[in-house]
């Protein structure tokens, strides 16, 4: 049900983001989705890649602080209210979204959203039970 996301700590200075992309490119790792959360001092880069292990190892060797975090990838109807339906469902069930971002690619008529919840397993279960399709890791990385 879950997918893994790679998170990287970045200082806010020139060239750090491109250093990450250089390392991944040299290792032949493909970035499937990304989001960058930033403050005035630092940023956290979150990536969905096609090879987690390789990405984590090469980035660590490159001197970065790296962590893998479980996330949920869900299909969202690509029409007005599609995302709202999901968020509304979660709110009614007392689930908090810590952060979310969109996948680069579409899947048919659906958008793919990556979610990080405070109660991850419960959220995935509620979404499934209510007919929201969850994409597991292997399928996601290969998309």
């Amino acid at each position: 049900m879950q997918a893994q996301q790679i998170s990287i700590f970045l200082e806010n200075k020139a060239g750090r983001l491109s250093e990450v992309t250089r390392i991944l490119s040299d290792a032949g790792v493909n970035i499937r989705a990304l989001s960058l959360a930033d403050t005035s001092d630092f940023g956290v880069l979150r990536l969905i890649v096609d090879d987690n292990e390789k990405a984590e190892n090469t980035l660590k060797q490159g001197g970065f602080t790296v962590k893998t975090t479980p996330v949920v990838a869900a299909l969202v109807n690509d029409r007005p209210g599609g995302l709202h339906g999901i968020l509304d469902l979660l709110t009614r069930n007392g689930i908090n979204v810590e952060y979310m971002y969109a996948f680069v690619q579409q899947s048919g008529d659906n958008a793919v959203m990556i979610f990080r919840f405070d109660k991850l397993d419960e959220a995935a279960r509620i979404l499934s039970e209510n007919g929201v399709e969850i994409i597991d890791g292997d399928r996601l990385y290969a998309m």
Binding site: F9, E11, F42, F64, T65
Partner: protein
């Protein structure tokens, strides 16, 4: 004006005989009352009675900040607690403060020395003194306060902070003497300007600035912006607090040390050998009138030189030059002593934080800004921004709580802070004094 003509203008020969008598009395007392000093002298094979002239002082062992820390909190006191009427403390190198005590007579001595100092800085009994040194465990506020009252001046105990209110008080009460750290005085000048208050319209004549190092160019800036004559004051809580030495406003050239209470020496910080007049080295002070907390050959770690030449102000007391640096890695941030090792012990206490850090000191708008860069370890890293922000807040709060100084905390990528390059790499001081 000279507050105590008899002592402050005493011929050197007479002064030295008083010094010797007081030194001998102090040594007998600490030998009898303070186990630390008894052991120090015994280990050195010296008895208090062996000191027969002032040059015998160099036979005595040094006392260091570490010694004071080892005797935390009261073991260096030379009188029973019944006779201690005041306790002050300054920060130490591991977060453990250095505690000092005063008898009623010590407080009186201190007030006398601060009255002398304020007089040398231009104050008289008719003045109103705006005292912006912090009141509390720090000796600055209360030191000036008691001296001002002894002098008979009117003191406004405004303490530090609340700058806008300070400007209003300066405008409405018309103080003529300002006592503050030099950096805070410039901060006051800026706040006044923002509020549309010009120091030209204020009543200030003189300012007595200390508790942190400052340069001649900063003096010129202060004198120009605050429209007053600025003098330097020196002191440290281990010795008594402010009032160890003071510049006279007539010469503004070197700080007269109150040698009837303190014997200064300059030593080579490496060999510990005394250096002759005029040579630059570490200042070592022996207090010869303190009752509760005498210090014998205390190593101040401050670098300066001594000048015995007579001064145009009439004082015969030797002058020390402005302190030009430190022999250790202590930083003075907004008047607060900060050792890198203190920051390190704060970091070590926070789970997941590794002691790879760097201190950056800047001066913005005339206030010292301390930035602590801390490398983030895998253990402390969270992919949630709010967790990371909470971590830097915790570090900042703990530093503030332990050291009493605000720091802005910046999380850094691993291995971006230089390793094992000694203490210098720990600190980047960009302040231009």
């Amino acid at each position: 004006m000279i507050f105590n003509i008899e002592y402050e203008t005493m011929p050197r020969e007479a002064l030295e005989s008083i010094q010797l008598r007081r030194l001998q009395a102090t040594l007998s007392r600490v030998y009898a009352a303070v186990p630390f000093y008894r052991k120090q002298l015994d280990d050195a094979g010296v008895k208090p009675g062996d000191v027969r002239c002032l040059s015998d002082l160099s036979r005595l062992p040094f006392t260091t900040k570490q010694d004071l820390r080892d005797n935390y909190p009261f073991n260096m006191f030379a009188v029973p607690m019944d006779n201690v009427v005041r306790i002050h403390a300054s920060s130490g190198t591991t977060g453990q403060p250095t505690v000092v005590g005063y008898t009623a007579r010590d407080i009186d001595t201190w007030a006398e020395l601060m009255a002398r100092a304020l007089s040398a800085g231009g104050a008289t009994r008719g003045d109103i003194i705006h005292n912006a040194y912090g009141y509390g465990l720090f000796t600055g506020g209360l030191g000036v306060h008691y001296g001002a009252e002894k002098l008979g001046a009117s003191v406004i105990p405004v303490s530090g902070g609340n700058t806008r209110r300070q400007v209003i008080i300066m405008k409405d009460f018309g103080p003529s003497i300002l006592t503050a750290t030099p950096s805070y005085s410039l901060h006051l000048a800026e706040a006044a300007e923002e509020m549309g208050v010009s120091f030209r319209d204020l009543n200030f004549r003189f300012g007595v600035f200390g508790a942190e190092p400052w340069s001649e160019s900063m003096r010129r800036e202060i004198e120009e912006k605050l429209h007053l004559k600025a003098v330097d004051i020196y002191g440290l809580s281990e010795v008594i607090g402010p009032g160890v030495s003071i510049e006279c406003h007539e010469a503004q050239k070197g700080l007269h040390i109150f040698e009837d209470h303190f014997i200064p020496e300059i030593i080579d910080p490496e060999t510990g050998q005394p250096l002759p007049w005029g040579e630059t080295g570490e200042l070592v002070i022996t207090s010869i009138t303190k009752e509760a907390f005498p210090v014998i050959r205390y190593r101040t770690r401050d670098i300066t030189s001594l000048n015995p030449e007579p001064c145009i102000c009439g004082r015969t007391m030797a002058r020390m030059n402005k302190v030009s640096g430190r022999t250790d890695d202590m930083l003075i941030i907004r008047g607060v002593n900060v050792f890198p090792s203190q920051i390190e012990s704060v970091l070590m206490e926070i789970k997941g934080v590794e002691p790879h850090y760097q201190l950056e000191v800047d001066r913005k708008d005339n206030l010292d800004i301390l930035t602590v860069r801390v490398e983030i370890s895998d253990a402390a890293f969270s992919d949630e921004v709010k967790e990371l922000q909470r971590l830097s807040e915790t570090i900042g709060n703990n530093i503030k709580e332990t050291l009493g100084v605000s720091a802005s905390v910046k999380l850094a990528e691993p291995k971006t802070i230089a390793r094992s390059e000694g203490k210098a790499a720990r600190v980047i001081d960009r302040r231009k004094l």
